[in-house]
């Protein structure tokens, strides 16, 4: 079947099997920032933005995003994304980095909606992004710092 959607700002069209999972389609088409950590929707490493919402691409069929706007980390290039990346690096919030694209997607989605989230709001927004390396402390710090730096500008 044909699936059409906007991927990182460009209109794309794929001819896919109805059972094609979005995660696989994205990785096979070169979007390797989308990571597979569990394929059951539990770890969040495969998160993408679908119409601005952070969603696990392993639990979506490609057909489900027909007509929607999909963003992966490859397409996150605005000021918010840049600040987030910078803050994550400066805070030491990136260890192995495998969960980081998903964390970025969740944090981007949160900060797009909430200007100055509390630590509790950050924790709630990131509760679907498992990380085994960092203990989350510096990831939360980094997101708080991003909000602060953007609010100040």
């Amino acid at each position: 079947m044909k699936v059409e959607f906007v991927l990182n700002g460009k209109e794309v069209e794929f001819d896919v099997d109805p059972g094609k999972v979005l995660l696989d389609l994205l990785r096979e088409s070169g979007h390797k920032s989308v990571k597979a950590g569990c394929k059951t929707g539990d770890c969040g490493a495969c998160m993408v933005l679908v119409d601005g919402r952070a969603m696990t691409s392993c639990t979506l069929y490609a057909a489900q995003v027909d007509g929607q706007d999909v963003k992966t980390v490859e397409g996150l290039e605005d000021e918010l994304a840049d600040r987030l990346k910078e803050s994550l690096l400066e805070a030491g919030a990136v260890q192995c980095g495998f969960c980081i694209p998903g964390v970025l997607i969740s944090a981007y989605s949160l900060l797009s909606k909430v200007e100055n989230p509390s630590r509790d709001e950050i924790k709630a927004a990131l509760d679907g992004n498992l990380c085994r390396c960092t203990g989350y402390v510096k990831q939360i710090d980094a997101i708080k710092e991003t909000a602060k730096s953007l609010g100040g500008s």
Binding site: C38, Q95, G97, I100, G135, V137
Partner: protein
């Protein structure tokens, strides 16, 4: 040793929280992990896992599988050579038994290998695996480690395995070390405490599962790109089991998505390589999360009994520690993890003169424990620190005070260092740096230890408690493991740094680059690091045993000094200077008459200007550590127990750690924070559960609960920096120590809050509630 703090130097590049050298690519989601590479004409492969806990394969028929469209090759015990080996990625000769085979006629746990299929697509492989027809003859399984030694069934009675301590009794490994006469001294002691605690099966769960691709390059050499902590050991084991020269194999470690010990195992590389050799095509294998849980590795469950004898003042006189370790179906790391239960814990309390450490690691028909962050120390510290808490109570001392009286100090030693090493005798070692007392002071202050009795729980149903635990670990494996580093000068004064050391997300590429830059007096940007490629980088044992910062760091420091010395030597001879008087600072080589920037001199070194004095500056250095200086840590927790539900509300976790010089404070804190949260999961929620057929019943992140952002308490890590004289720029390693504290500190705090004694993690609300109910009776 005096006051180390005063000896601490000012550094330009180390001791600074610089951002990771690989950070940009990671944060932009670049294709840098093993699974991110595409291979034209590549195949994928999968493994048929045993549905049986213990059985003999009577017949295996793969003809239907081979007929499946897209299936290219099928492997099983009937068409693969039988080579006994260990899957432990340890230094050669490995201290683990050779009791594993690529494929065997026997399956020993649910999840063990039966066969493998390579095909054009995942669908073809799945269908192929389904069509393999296997006839099993059931054997009686053993699930209870306490019954394993007396069982009539033997798990490893095959004739060709070796290195098993007592195969006739299912004992993979045994340790028995006695110093003095602890039974006698304890029986005569004023105070005796005895505790037995039991820990569970737990998993590492790196978010990236194991991924391996094997292919033949244009010269028909085998290339394996794999998510490993031990590329050089992988190459050696591949050569051993494939009967190929080491030189015909190249192992490349790309970025790795977390390891924690589970990638110190040789798990997919053999099968992927066999398929690549047989088909001539690239073959990629990746564990699913379920396979990662069932068939990779986990932590040794243990029963650890500790008996302490002390004076009425709380001074320890004797310690007996007895261990029963469950090593599952194979003995990988069985001896060394068992040894570490004692070797990483008993020296901490060196005031006890008489010691007995003994135990067995026994086989069962359950999944296979291996190396896991902490490596036996978390299990040992649970019982030891739980017992120390009771000792404090019995002698009427503050829990901090009882530890102060007994813990090892600078200039002191423990006979355990010499008697108990990694599967053999250890090495004599004196403590050169220990700021554990300061860790206790600062941690206590942060948690509010002295005011703890004034704090009230948030409501009348909840009870507040505080707990602590102290521990030590090590920095590498002395006189066994080694690391090497190579530096090459470029024409602009920058250096390529080649290290065998394996960055698995820890930031070691950054830390080692900082050490190189510091030693060379240049900026971090002038170091271009390349790590872990057996064709291009020198040897390194790998990322395990808290070795990289200390051991590989020293190799880097030495290589930098060698490179610098050679540059000075050439400079002196070229410009007729006295090498002793040449100064090297701020990127300049300063002689009495001639001064040049390193960049100027570097350019001239490979230009006609230097005529026949042209030279490629390159220096390689090796490091074999003679000691393993322990980092020390004090962990404090504040929590509340809800007496209605049994829920533990962990509110605050403070950990103060003596890490030597923190080469990169942010990354050192990150190691601690990650390990602490890993430890909290181990203490409160994580457990691999099995049904009565030995099948793991919770092999998913949904059912096996690791902490997420909502589960973490307020966490504070305090770096108490000492200066370790044998470490690179004073550093020690802190990869593991952070995981040792959570279980005992939480158990001690729950006891403080409620009086109940939790001895078998995870401390779920059900267990707490049951215990609370008992006390009400």
């Amino acid at each position: 040793m005096g006051d180390n703090k005063s000896e601490k130097q000012n550094y330009n590049v180390v001791n600074k929280s610089l951002t990771k050298v690989d950070g940009k690519s990671l944060v932009n989601g670049k294709p840098v992990f093993a699974g991110d590479y595409d291979y034209p004409d590549g195949l994928v492969a999968g493994i048929l896992a045993s549905p049986k806990a213990h059985a003999e394969i009577v017949k295996i028929n793969t003809s239907e599988a081979e007929k499946v469209d897209g299936v290219v090759s099928v492997l099983h015990h009937g068409n693969v050579d039988r080579v006994p080996h260990t899957t432990a990625g340890q230094g050669y000769p490995e201290p683990s038994p050779y009791d594993a085979y690529i494929f065997d006629r026997r399956v020993r746990y649910v999840g063990d290998r039966v066969a493998a299929v390579a095909g054009e697509s995942g669908e073809a492989v799945r269908e192929g695996l389904e069509k393999i027809d296997v006839e099993y003859r059931d054997l009686e399984p053993i699930f209870d480690p306490k019954k394993s030694r007396d069982a009539s069934v033997l798990i490893h009675d095959e004739e060709d395995s070796s290195g098993i301590y007592d195969p006739e009794n299912n004992v993979a490994a045994n340790v028995d070390i006695e110093i003095g006469d602890p039974e006698k001294i304890i029986s005569g002691a004023d105070v005796v405490v005895e505790e037995t605690c039991e820990t569970q099966f737990a998993q590492h769960t790196p978010i990236e599962p194991h991924v391996t691709t094997a292919y033949l390059d244009e010269h028909e050499r085998l290339v394996v790109r794999t998510s490993t902590q031990v590329p050089f050991h992988v190459r050696r084991i591949l050569a051993q089991i494939l009967d190929m020269p080491i030189g015909k194999i190249r192992v490349i470690k790309p970025r790795v998505g977390g390891g924690f010990g589970v990638k110190q195992e040789f798990l997919l590389e053999d099968v992927a390589s066999l398929f690549a050799l047989r088909t001539g095509r690239p073959v990629t294998m990746e564990y699913s999360r379920e396979e990662e849980f069932r068939s990779s590795r986990c932590r040794h469950p243990m029963e650890v009994r500790v008996k302490l004898g002390a004076t009425s003042e709380g001074e320890l006189q004797g310690i007996i520690m007895e261990v029963l370790s469950n090593t599952g179906a194979y003995g990988t790391h069985s001896l060394t993890v068992l040894s570490n239960v004692g070797s990483k814990t008993l020296p901490l309390y060196n005031k006890a003169s008489d010691l007995h450490f003994f135990g067995d690691a026994v086989y069962t028909n359950l999944p296979v424990p291996g190396a896991y962050r902490g490596y036996g120390a978390p299990q040992g510290y649970f019982s030891l620190e739980f017992a120390m808490e009771k000792l404090a109570e019995k002698v009427g001392k503050d829990p901090i005070e009882i530890r102060r009286i007994n813990h090892i100090k600078e200039g002191e030693t423990s006979p355990i260092f010499e008697k108990l090493g990694e599967g053999k005798e250890g090495t004599v070692q004196y403590i050169n740096s220990c700021r554990l007392d300061e860790c206790l002071d600062r941690g206590a202050e942060k948690i509010g230890w002295n005011e703890r009795n004034d704090k009230e729980a948030s409501d009348k149903y909840r009870k507040k408690g505080f707990g602590l635990a102290i521990n030590m670990q090590g920095s590498g494996i002395p006189l066994i493991d080694m690391a090497a580093a190579r530096l090459k000068l470029n024409e602009d004064g920058s250096f390529n740094l080649y290290v065998g050391a394996t960055d698995i997300g820890t930031g070691s590429d950054t830390v080692l680059s900082q050490i190189a830059a510091e030693a060379l007096g240049i900026d971090l940007d002038d170091i271009i690091v390349y790590s872990s490629d057996t064709d291009f980088t020198p040897f390194d044992s790998g990322a395990y045993a808290s070795s990289t910062t200390y051991v590989s760091g020293n190799a880097v420091r030495k290589a930098a000094e060698k490179a610098r010395d050679r540059i000075i030597e050439i400079f002196a001879s070229r410009y007729d200077e006295n090498p002793e008087e040449i100064d090297w600072k701020d990127g300049k080589i300063i002689g009495s008459d001639t001064t040049k920037t390193l960049a100027e001199f570097a350019l001239s070194l490979t230009s006609g200007e230097m005529e026949t004095d042209q030279e490629q500056i390159e220096a390689t250095a090796s490091e074999v550590p003679e000691e393993s200086p322990p980092p020390f840590a004090a962990h404090f927790v504040e929590l509340e127990v809800d007496t209605r539900t049994g829920e533990i509300d962990l509110q605050k976790y403070v950990s103060a750690v003596d890490c030597g010089t923190a080469i990169n404070p942010n990354l050192a804190e990150g190691q601690m924070e990650g390990a602490i949260v890993n430890g909290i999961g181990y203490a409160l929620t994580e457990e691999m559960e099995f049904n009565n057929s030995g099948r793991m019943t919770n092999p998913s992140f949904f059912d096996y609960k690791i902490p997420n952002t909502e589960d973490i308490p307020e966490i504070e890590v305090i770096l108490v920096e000492s200066s370790e004289p044998t470490g690179p720029m004073g550093a020690k390693s802190v990869g593991e120590i952070g995981i040792n504290g959570a279980i005992p500190a939480i158990a001690n705090a729950v006891r403080d809050a409620t009086g109940i004694e939790l001895t078998n993690p995870p401390f779920t609300p059900e267990k707490v509630w049951e215990k609370l109910k008992e006390t009400r009776k």
